[in-house]
Symmetry: C2
Subunit: 134 residues, 2 copies
Amino acid sequence: MWLSTKTRYGLKAIYEIGMHEKSPIALNTIASKHEISLSYLEQIIALLKKDGLIRSTRGPHGGYSLAKPPEKIYVGDIIRALEGSYAPTECVEENDLCNLRTSCVTHYVYKKINDSITEVVDHMTLKDLMDQML
Amino acid sequence: MWLSTKTRYGLKAIYEIGMHEKSPIALNTIASKHEISLSYLEQIIALLKKDGLIRSTRGPHGGYSLAKPPEKIYVGDIIRALEGSYAPTECVEENDLCNLRTSCVTHYVYKKINDSITEVVDHMTLKDLMDQML
DNA sequence: ATTAAATCCGAGTACACTACTGGGAATTAG
DNA sequence: CTAATTCCCAGTAGTGTACTCGGATTTAAT
């Protein structure tokens, strides 16, 4: 289990925000629905806001809403905002020097894994999740 | 970076074992080549042995060799032996109850990720790594 | 203006897990 | 017998995750 609660809670949260289309949704609602502490959820949601995926309205009847249409929000962006990176090893991290070297056999494995994850998450949007039948 | 040193060192180690085809290779050799402590490497290698990927010869001139031909050793088996599991979340772990439910939207994401990793690692053998040109 | 609902912000903390170190026993080739 | 090697078990420092807590700021409604 290498995805943290940040990502797991955060993904559920942005999904809820997307589904609550008409008006901003308060964190309280999401927190109690998913039994997450409000304080913790605040910290998580801040990561999504920092990366420009959601925007906030303060004061009563405030809350959060999507910053762009759900078909333009990629699951990859969400995970990167929340988790930071999903690279299996440091050596396939974006700005790692090892990327330039081909001398390491195992690097090949990690790169393939990383690429396949990227393929999945960068071709899946929040809208895809919202459109899913349950 | 969600693959532990166990997996990273262990993968390098089994690669070395594979490349040293003629006779068993001593851990000492691998440990000093890759600057890993012998004690730690012993613990890692034990995981590979437990899962029947390598076998050992004790005493002088002893060491480790592959338990089967490298084209029958899948990278997936190696990683599972070392890491335990590469599932992004508990809910896509093999024996998790959530597998049966379809009620969770985010589950869909995790399953896709997990499947794509499986696709990569279960179609790559140790031989593929050994055959790679450097 | 006051109140209350909400976001925003920063500090602190318990626990689990990773990445080791160390000591010593068992096996076996020469 | 000796030395090289695997095997086995116990401990431990440090890191990171998953939170809790307290309070400041903004703003709609009365």
